[in-house]
Amino acid sequence: MSTTPATPSPSSQPLRDQFLTLPQRLNWSRMLLWAMALTVVATLLLPPIYLTLRAFEAGSAAVSALTRPSSWAIIGRTTLLSLSVTAASALIAIPLAWLTVRSDVPLRRFWAVISALPLVIPSYVGAYLYASALGPNGLLQQLLEPITGITRLPSIYGFWGALFTLTMLSYPYMLLGAQAALRRMDPTLEEIAASLGLNRLQTFLRVVLPQLRPALGAGGLLVALYVLRDFGAVAIMRYDTFTRVIFQQYRSFDRIQAAFFALLLVCLTLLLVALEMKTRGRASYDLVGVRATRAPTRTALGAWRWPAFIFCAAIASLGMLLPATVLLYWLGRGLLGGESLGMLGPATWSALGSSVAGAVVTVIAALPVAMLVVRQPGRLSALLERLTYAAFALPGIAVALALVFFGITFARWLYQSYAMLILAYMILFLPQAFGALHTALRQLHPSLEESARSLGRRPIQVFFQITLPLIRPGIIAGASLVFLTAMKELPATLLLAPIGVRTLATEVWTAVSEAYFTRAAAPALLLILCSSLPLALLSVREQKQHL
């Protein structure tokens, strides 16, 4: 090449032509991208595949486990809880959404904001606060005893406690979707219904509710999924669903049985996610081009104004006021009783450290998958996208269990190391990081990258000089989301953190399992503050978009 003149001349032309008639050279940058993305998605598949292998290893034992009545009882209890919470959430979310968007209930805006707040409470923190307030010898009983002489309240533990806790924590998923749908809805449709002779109730049932169905369906599936994956609330409320049973079996070293149940749980959640994907596709189709041209009209409630106010106030009190008061009470009592906050230091640092590392690793892993899905559309990359979204179904306990087995059998050096914990975080939170990056990349028009190519940059230079700086907001959003979710993650941290390492989540868990309610308050408050951040950021961004 050194003998080739710098400027093109007739003598260099045959060389170039010869070069061009050779078979296509390997495209290294594309191959690298594919290799990285396939590795990441293969890692995602590791837990379910490994659980399947372990479960089938048991062979006839697994089959007999399936036919045992106790197994069916667990499946039944899990399904029952999941359906009940979804139904109860709908009963709260539908009237609340309508009241906060379409009525003149007093303090309407205030209820709209406060009713979404329970989202920031991790389930085990919520369960701890409700149990310590309403349980036997709880705060409520202590308050009532001097007045009424009641020494025993009906127990909160079991189905009703789990139903109450999970409903109060997860109804906002349905509420937010329903509120958004009501705001988007075209008010002229209701006016047409009225002009055709329908009264208000008929209009709501025959015109409004059908339009809410996609939003309610999507929200309901999210609620059901939340219940299936939840470990903290059912464990504290002592209701034996899959996650709690799996944890107990893991503790008693009945590992084959645990793997089998974890696999069953994964199948259940996958089923739900598949349903969710289907409705989401249809819901977005329904909403194409539909945008309310006018602000929604507000119905005057008349005599119903104050009953509606009481309903809103009751939900807000149970969902937000009660937990907040109880938390502050335990915190104050703990501080007065000489509970030291110094011991929180190490737990905070290890939680921060593992969550930051988890966020960085997860975003780096999600980047090649997102780039491939957005820039190289095709059958295989569409499959990768679906698999990544389906990973959203993986419950923390199932992933943790699979990694424990895998570590013990194949990678002893990884077992009980931070690396293993971070791997679990990556598998669990990849869908979140992928979502943020996918959106950012989709907004980046390919002509920007093509311009840089035609101005003389190689693909790798284009990535660092154009793509990376321009998707930085998406990277930051994805990383913060993963960081905050990792801070809250309980089962994976319980099972995989190195021995002796405690995080905020495990602090709360340990204290509550031993009924040290005062000791759990401070880490619980820190966790709530952590999870409030993304919600605050999101609402600030949404308000900016509205302006």
């Binding site: 296509q24 920007l448 093509e450 035609s454 101005l455 003389g456 154009i466």
Partner: protein, 349 residues
């Protein structure tokens, strides 16, 4: 000498043929406008020249370099091709000067002076430190053009560069762009679906349809000598008037024209008659009747029905306004030879 040659280029996407056996030369220093309805494959041609797509068959050469065959393709960064996109595609994280200097790989001093020259040429002096979102649509597109021109590309490719702008701006900007390109003597391929824009920008116009090239010629020839019925209908308004060839003349319902056609006398053809080739006068004993009219500001476009039920569109100035059903006389007065096509295989219903 041609700067870009596409030779027998085919492009398939899966089983769909986007470009079908296209051979096209862009001469050094000319602006070639590539015109066609959307989906005709014109953007695919541009992207193959740029190196973002690879031909399924055929070769592409830029200058004296072969840049693409069906087997190998030189990556875009090694082709010295400038690109201007419909969505200007300015790098939003870089200011105007950094955008224009992006493709320059020389010393800082050389780069600064080149950026300075281009800012001046594009009429953007003093804006070097603005960010892209602080510019108007027309300014953004001029920065995009300056950025593409900065490394002195062998050929500049423009993909519908004005279609995102409003009508007034489009007309000013295209004049500015044409002046800039001619001043620099740039070889350019200009892709558009807007025929007026193509006729204005192109030294020559290439018309594509369904992946195939229909005609390449100077803009005026598209009117005077359309190579196909498609072009006659696509460019401007065309009437097809049935006619019969006779010795040294063409006979039509509106009288005969003196024009030599090398066909056997008695052959039936369709004559391409433009609305301005016809003359219309009110006449109670005339040969036609007004069926409809459209007022277009400067003139009226009448649709008239001849006694044979043949309908023709005919242009008339705005001084007279004849209502429908007025009896008129139509005369054929082209003043130049008319294009004709053999009658379609299947007869009119």
């Amino acid at each position: 000498m041609s700067e870009v040659s596409c030779t027998n280029v085919h492009k398939l996407f899966g089983t769909v043929t986007a470009v079908n056996d296209l051979s096209l030369q862009i001469r050094a220093g000319e602006i070639l406008a590539l015109l066609g309805p959307s989906g005709c494959g014109k953007t695919t041609v541009l992207r193959m020249i740029a190196g973002f797509e690879q031909p399924s068959q055929g070769t592409i050469q830029i200058g004296d370099q072969l840049v693409a065959t069906s087997k190998r393709s030189l990556p875009p960064e090694q082709r010295q091709v400038g690109m201007v996109f419909q969505h200007h595609a300015l790098f939003p994280h870089l200011d105007v000067a950094a955008n224009i200097g992006f493709g320059l790989r020389r010393s800082a001093a050389v780069r600064r002076s080149r950026v300075h020259d281009l800012l001046e040429l594009a009429g953007l002096s003093g804006m070097e430190h603005r960010m892209p979102h602080q510019l108007s649509g027309g300014q953004q597109q001029r920065v995009a053009l300056a950025r593409a021109l900065a490394p002195s590309p062998a050929v500049l490719l423009l993909d519908e560069p004005f279609s995102n702008l409003d009508a007034d701006l489009r007309i000013t900007l295209r004049a500015q762009v044409r002046t800039m390109l001619k001043q620099l003597g740039t070889t350019a391929l200009f892709v558009t679906h807007d025929q007026e824009e193509a006729l204005y920008m192109g030294d020559r116009v290439a018309v594509m349809r369904e992946g195939q090239l229909e005609q390449v010629c100077p803009p005026s020839d598209l009117f005077l000598a359309p190579a196909s019925r498609f072009i006659a209908e696509f460019i401007g308004v065309a009437n097809f008037l049935p006619a019969t060839i006779c010795a040294g003349c063409i006979k039509t319902e509106l009288g005969s024209l003196t024009q030599r056609v090398d066909l056997r006398p008695g052959t039936s053809v369709d004559l391409v008659v433009r609305p301005d080739d016809l003359e219309l006068q009110p006449d109670a004993q005339g040969n036609a009747q007004i069926a409809d009219r459209v007022f277009r500001g400067g003139d009226y476009l009448y649709e008239v029905e001849l006694d044979s039920k043949q309908r023709l569109r005919c242009l008339c100035n705005h001084i007279h306004d004849y209502p429908p059903n007025t009896r008129v006389r139509i005369r054929l007065t082209p003043g130049h030879a008319l294009a004709w096509f053999p009658e379609p295989a299947e007869p009119h219903p």
